[in-house]
């Protein structure tokens, strides 16, 4: 096996497959169109392109880190295998009944998303376990065998097993698996006590079903990828990025493919965390805006915030509740329907609404001249002077400002009595406000004050809007890193080997049982460490311990981080103190007199983070070279103002440009509002600061 320090990050996205080669910390990247029918084709093409650029042979690559949207897409497009669910008698419809509520209360014609498996693919067996893990009713092996025969006859490729309270006692699920392995040796089997051993049957069952549903597809894809790479002379280790922001072996990924969902965006958050580490920033808001959506993530102490459940495949305007819940460790992100292609209209209240409908790439925004008649965010950006019509996407698409003006006037201006520029201002303000609101709500949910944060922006449309967003959020500092167009793939290269194991076990602090805790945490530690050890036989492996706690009677747990000592020498007073501290931080004050309980236990095993070299921030500033100026609308001033144009490639470390200005590059454009100034740092980041703060540095 080739052992070299040459590594490669590969991110298969919806439109593009990004490939980044890392040699001695230097990056060479390319973007090729994703090849849906055989995704590995785009990877091979990308590899050849970057290898040629870097002057190496494919055989020199020492390691590949891969992230992909294929798992997510298979769930969204329902392209999974012929899958059955075996569940507890009396609970056949858990994944269909959902929360028994409507995620949009005012739509009489609301349609709930279909469950991944229709009712006739859901089967039941008798046998019942209670909340404490005791068997109320035994399971009957003969009944399971008879059911297995039915499944053989039906010809299922993959089977999910989800039984009530299996997180507390997995013996029934394991018995079912044993029988299935005997009777259906070719079928793939997923059991909920392994895939997601967490309390709450709807989330757990849906997660195990999703895993089973995409398992055959992902397994065969990963197998093919390995073969194809070997054909190209690439015989190195391949690892997969998971949704929690770490990497796992290809074998673990094939076993638990549901953990690959949202791995691309997770890479973006890791990328931002890496920049945060370089700058020694403890409070960072990452902002990724592309063609159809914007994603926002909080990064504290250089670690992206994680969650134990999230929702995938939202079917209704990105509305909470309109997708399906997946309970796996995941980087916590807010996603809203706001991107360059998001379309605007005027509603019954004569208000401008933007998104989540998107023009996509066909027909695209009106300015693409491909027949789009409705104004998109990109049209507003063009009319406001933020984009140069001759140099969009490196000049590959010529933008037509007249089309934008017509669309803005026709769709917005006529009703609102606005000219094209005012309509464009309105559109841009509404979309920026939508993103700012999403960020504010997310911050409140996490007890954070954004004014103490630094924003890191990447993705094609983010630098156009980030400056205004900072103004709206009271954020003082914005960093726009280089390579922002392939941020996720770079993030893959920064990620550690990691795996989080978790389990629901209820314990009140009044019934605190140290021995049980130590046994449980050690078991979780062993499990998590095993996955990491598979990836690297020698590395140090660290363990992060986390428990989810709440006052008895509450429905929301808050995550509490424990040190190894606090976890393995547990003591109720310490747990209570840590909980009350965090609770107070989030909600203002603790509640006297109530018992506290622990609901979920988690251990994350991880290789140590790669040492990050702190950059020397520039102190001596000199003016950047402006190539001219153009008129750009500044929303805070409410008027267009002549702004300097600077090409990013001409900026050297310490170069400064004061807003209003625009910094252009092939992949995107950075808008520096009048209230800000921009410095180029030594690592190529553009550092956008408040005029006053900037003058002091």
């Amino acid at each position: 096996m080739a052992q070299s320090s040459i590594r490669m990050g590969v991110d298969i996205g919806g439109t593009f497959t990004d490939v980044v080669l890392e040699i001695d910390g230097q990056h060479t990247s390319t973007k090729v169109l994703t090849t849906y029918a055989a995704p590995e084709n785009a990877i091979i093409e990308g590899i050849h392109q970057v290898c040629a650029k870097a002057g190496i042979g494919p055989g020199d690559i020492g390691q590949i880190i891969h992230g992909t949207t294929l798992a997510t897409n298979a769930l969204i497009e329902r392209r999974g295998a012929k899958t059955a669910l075996i569940t507890t008698k009396g609970f056949r419809d858990v994944i269909e009944m959902r929360t028994e509520s409507r995620f949009e209360q005012y739509d009489l014609n609301l349609q709930l998303p279909d469950p991944l498996l229709p009712r006739n693919r859901r089967y039941t067996v008798a046998g019942r376990i209670d909340a404490t893990g005791q068997v109320l009713e035994p399971i009957d092996r003969a009944e399971v065998e008879a059911l297995a025969d039915e499944l053989v006859f039906a010809g299922y490729e993959s089977i999910a097993v989800g039984l009530i309270h299996s997180y507390a006692n997995d013996s029934h699920e394991k018995l079912v698996r044993d029988v299935l392995q005997e009777k259906l040796p070719d079928a793939m089997i997923s059991i909920s006590s392994e895939v997601s051993p967490q309390m709450r049957e709807y989330e757990r069952f849906n997660t195990v079903v999703a895993n089973a549903y995409i398992k055959p597809l992902m397994k065969s894809y990963l197998g093919q990828l390995k073969d194809r790479l070997r054909d190209q002379g690439i015989d190195c280790n391949i690892f997969l990025m998971h949704s929690g922001g770490g990497i796992i072996s290809i074998e673990s990924a094939a076993e638990f493919p549901v953990r690959l969902v949202e791995s691309g965006p997770a890479g973006g958050a890791v990328f931002a965390a890496h920049i945060a580490a370089r700058y020694g920033l403890d409070k960072v808001l990452s902002f990724d805006m592309g063609g159809t959506t914007a994603k926002i993530c909080l990064i504290k102490n250089q670690t992206p915030k994680t969650s134990r459940v999230f929702e995938v495949a939202r079917t209704y305007r990105f509305k909470k509740g309109s997708g399906m819940p997946i309970s796996i460790p995941v980087i916590d992100m807010v996603e809203i329907g706001a991107g360059g292609g998001s379309l605007a209209h005027v509603d019954a209240m004569r208000q401008i609404r933007v998104g989540p409908e998107s023009a996509g790439s066909e027909p695209g925004p009106a300015c693409y001249g491909r027949g789009g008649k409705q104004p998109a965010v990109t049209d507003a950006d063009l009319i406001l002077g933020k984009l140069d019509p001759e140099n969009f996407a490196g000049g590959s698409i010529k933008l037509n400002a007249e089309n934008s003006a017509t669309a803005l006037e026709e769709v917005l201006g006529k009703t609102l009595d606005m000219d094209a520029q005012t309509a464009g201002f309105g559109l841009a303000e509404v979309v920026d406000e939508n993103m700012a609101n999403a960020a504010r709500v997310h911050a409140v949910e996490n007890g954070e004050d954004l004014s103490e944060y630094t924003m890191i922006a990447f993705g094609g449309a983010a630098p156009l809007h980030a400056g205004r967003l900072c103004e709206k959020l009271g954020v003082e500092r914005l960093l726009v890193p280089p390579g922002a167009g392939v941020g996720s793939a770079i993030g893959f290269l920064c990620a550690p080997f990691s795996f989080e194991a978790n389990r629901s076990v209820y314990m009140k602090l009044s019934d605190f049982a140290s021995d049980t805790i130590v046994t449980l945490l050690k078991e979780l530690q062993r499990e998590a460490t095993g996955f990491v050890r598979n990836c690297d036989a020698e590395a140090d492996i660290l363990s992060d311990f986390k428990v989810y706690m709440r006052y008895t009677g509450q429905g929301w747990e808050i995550p509490i981080t424990l040190t190894a000592d606090q976890a393995l020498n547990p003591d109720a007073d310490t747990f209570l103190r840590l909980f009350e501290d965090d609770y107070t931080k989030l909600f203002g004050r603790p509640v006297e007199g109530l018992d506290v309980e622990i609901t979920v236990w988690a251990v994350n095993a991880t290789t140590p983070p790669k040492p990050v070299e702190r950059i020397d921030q520039v102190h001596k500033l000199s003016p950047a070279i402006s190539t001219g100026s153009r008129s750009i609308f500044d929303p805070a001033l409410g008027k267009a103002i002549e702004s300097d144009i600077v090409e990013r490639t001409t900026m050297r470390a310490g170069h400064r440009v004061a807003g209003p200005a625009v910094i252009t590059e092939d992949e995107t454009t950075i808008i520096v509002p009048s209230s800000r100034q921009a410095h180029r740092q030594t690592d190529g980041c553009i550092d956008v600061l408040n005029q006053k703060t900037g003058d002091k540095s």
Partner: protein
């Protein structure tokens, strides 16, 4: 700035206010102790101008609070007195008639000062765990038995919490820590709203909310009235009878569409019941208004102006206008049926818009568990109260089937049974869809659900039933068939009642079937593919496919064969 640019600022501010109240609501969901707030979303939050007009209300929440919230702040201003409003004040009530319909909802209002001047108010409401009295149920004969009454008063004055009030509350309820915790959660959520408002006013250089209030209210009023003006000027009557408690209840409504308003007149509706299922007018109004807004102006956000054109009248002492001291704890039962009654009238004016009747009221029950008394109980047996929220099927829509086991009109969620079983020694043996319960039609009613409820070994329990549609199933529309009625019995086959507290001895279970929604249109016109799909999924039995929809034996065996092969039909 030009006039049209300041329009842009106003739009941004309106967006912001809607986001502010959403933050307010989310803060409450995360801090509340009340099960119904955190699991079921039974809460509400809003922002008001200085006159007490509601400018924005959180989308998170339940329709029952819609108008009640809009009206509440006016009552607070009147009762507290304008001269008595200070910075740092927080007001409270659970008055069913000036709040949101029963003592179990606490409403808190906080005046918002900017640079020392009163600029508006924030209000929020939460359904709390317990307010003393007989406990949550229909058994009280008057509101006095239903728990502690807190008139509109100051919870805090200039930042000082009224400790006398706190002591009185603590001394009168079963879970004092949780209730006090919830009261602080409500106060905190208003505070979060206030801070955001202050930020916004600073950002836009506002001294008061007059301009933005006018902009919001004017645009909302115009949009709502445009929708009403597009409807035929007609009136029509609707009527629906449901089980009630002591006697069946008939809801009668006459809908009149005028140029600039719609009047729902409930004259002819049954009188108040002896037991606590009566509904204060404000709560009936909320559901009448909700039903009409869903049908004709769903995307117009709730505020004083968009709600104003929906008028309601009902004779005093009718069950939709119960007056003090009528018992009102379970006012939701009648309130949840108001939309179906309104739709029966609206369908006569605007055909092919509204759904057929559905399950209507939520299928809630409370289980009071205790160690068995008929024999020696095990040492670990405990007392416990467990409340659950469940839904039957919704009515078929003109072009779409009804929703299976999904709440309408209520907006609440169910709880995972694994969580319920952690809350106390209850065992839910079954919770799944009820085949053949959706009324047949061109579009089918949503399915109800089966539940089976028992206790852990060594326990017996009282079962507080809050069900309807036992004797009055959802009625089909335009030739559609009725949904299946509610059934309830013990596992030994003995009968139980749809409402009230009933004893269940050790070893017995309660066997429940919740109602299905009704069908819409002639079943003969149903798409044969939809019939086959329903059969394959077991939404309907082969028997029903044949008798109600006329599916041939050949087709039936074809579908059965496909199912054996695990195919999707």
């Amino acid at each position: 700035m030009s006039i049209n640019q300041s329009q842009v600022s106003l739009q941004v501010m309106w967006n912001r206010l809607i986001s502010v109240v959403e933050e307010q609501a989310q803060a409450l969901v995360r801090t509340a102790f009340s099960t119904s707030v955190r699991e079921a979303g039974d809460l509400s939050a809003g922002v008001y101008d200085v006159a007490g007009q509601m400018l924005a209300q959180a989308v998170t929440g339940t329709p029952g609070h819609v108008n009640a919230m809009a009206d509440a702040v006016g009552h607070f201003i009147r009762r507290i007195g304008r001269g008595n409003i200070f910075e740092g004040d927080i007001y409270i009530t659970n008055d069913p008639w000036e709040g949101t319909g029963h003592l179990h909802d606490i409403t808190m209002v906080t005046p918002s000062f900017h640079n020392g001047v009163l600029v508006g108010f924030f209000a929020c409401t939460a359904h709390i765990v317990d307010i003393g009295g007989r406990g949550f149920g229909a058994d009280a004969a008057s509101v006095y038995e239903e728990g502690l009454y807190i008139p509109i008063m100051k919870f805090a004055e200039s930042g000082e919490v009224d400790q006398t009030l706190v002591r009185i509350v603590r001394g009168n309820v079963r879970e004092p820590d949780q209730l006090i915790g919830d009261m602080y959660a409500l106060a905190t959520c208003n505070e979060i709203g206030h801070r955001r408002l202050t930020d916004m006013m600073a950002e836009f250089g506002l001294r008061d909310l007059t301009g933005i209030a006018e902009f919001i209210l004017e645009n909302s009023r115009r949009a709502t009235i445009e929708r009403i003006a597009a409807l035929p000027r007609q009136s029509a009557e609707g009527e629906m009878t449901v089980d009630g408690f002591s006697a069946p209840i008939t809801l009668k409504v006459k809908l009149t569409i005028a140029d600039d308003h719609i009047l729902s007149d409930f004259t002819g509706t049954s009188g108040v019941d002896k037991k606590g299922i009566n509904c204060p007018l404000v709560y009936a109004k909320a559901y009448a208004c909700y039903a009409l807004k869903c049908a004709i102006a769903p995307e117009i956000p709730n505020n004083a102006a968009s709600l104003a054109p929906f008028l309601i009248e009902a004779p005093e002492n009718s069950i939709v206008n119960a007056v003090h001291p009528a018992p009102v704890a379970l006012r939701h039962i009648v309130g949840h049926f108001v939309p179906d009654a309104v739709y029966n009238a609206l369908d006569k004016i605007i055909p092919a818009m509204v759904p057929a009747e559905g399950a209507g009221c939520l299928c809630n029950f409370q289980v009071s568990l205790r160690p068995r008394t008929d024999a020696e109980a095990p040492a670990d047996a405990v007392r416990s109260e467990v409340l659950t929220f469940n839904s039957g099927g919704s009515g078929a829509r003109p072009e779409l089937d009804g929703l299976n086991a999904t709440a309408f009109p209520s907006g609440v969620m169910t709880m995972p049974i694994e969580a319920t079983e952690h809350a106390g020694p209850v065992i839910i043996w079954r919770k799944e869809l009820r085949p053949d319960s959706g009324g047949a039609g061109k579009t089918r009613g949503g399915l109800g659900q089966y539940m089976e409820v028992g206790a852990r070994e060594g326990h017996e329990f009282d079962f507080q039933a809050m069900f309807d549609r036992v004797n009055h199933p959802a009625r089909g529309r335009q030739g559609g068939a009725n949904g299946a009625p509610t059934t309830i019995s013990r596992s030994d086959g003995s009968a139980m009642q749809g409402k009230g507290k009933q004893f269940v001895p050790h070893g017995q279970r309660v066997v429940l079937a919740f109602p299905g929604g009704a069908g819409y249109g002639d079943p003969a016109n149903r798409d044969p593919m939809a019939i086959k799909r329903d059969l394959a999924r077991g939404y309907i039995s082969a028997q029903t496919a044949k008798s109600d929809y006329g599916l041939s034996d050949t087709d039936i065996s074809e579908v059965e064969k496909a199912v054996q092969h695990g195919e999707i039909v």
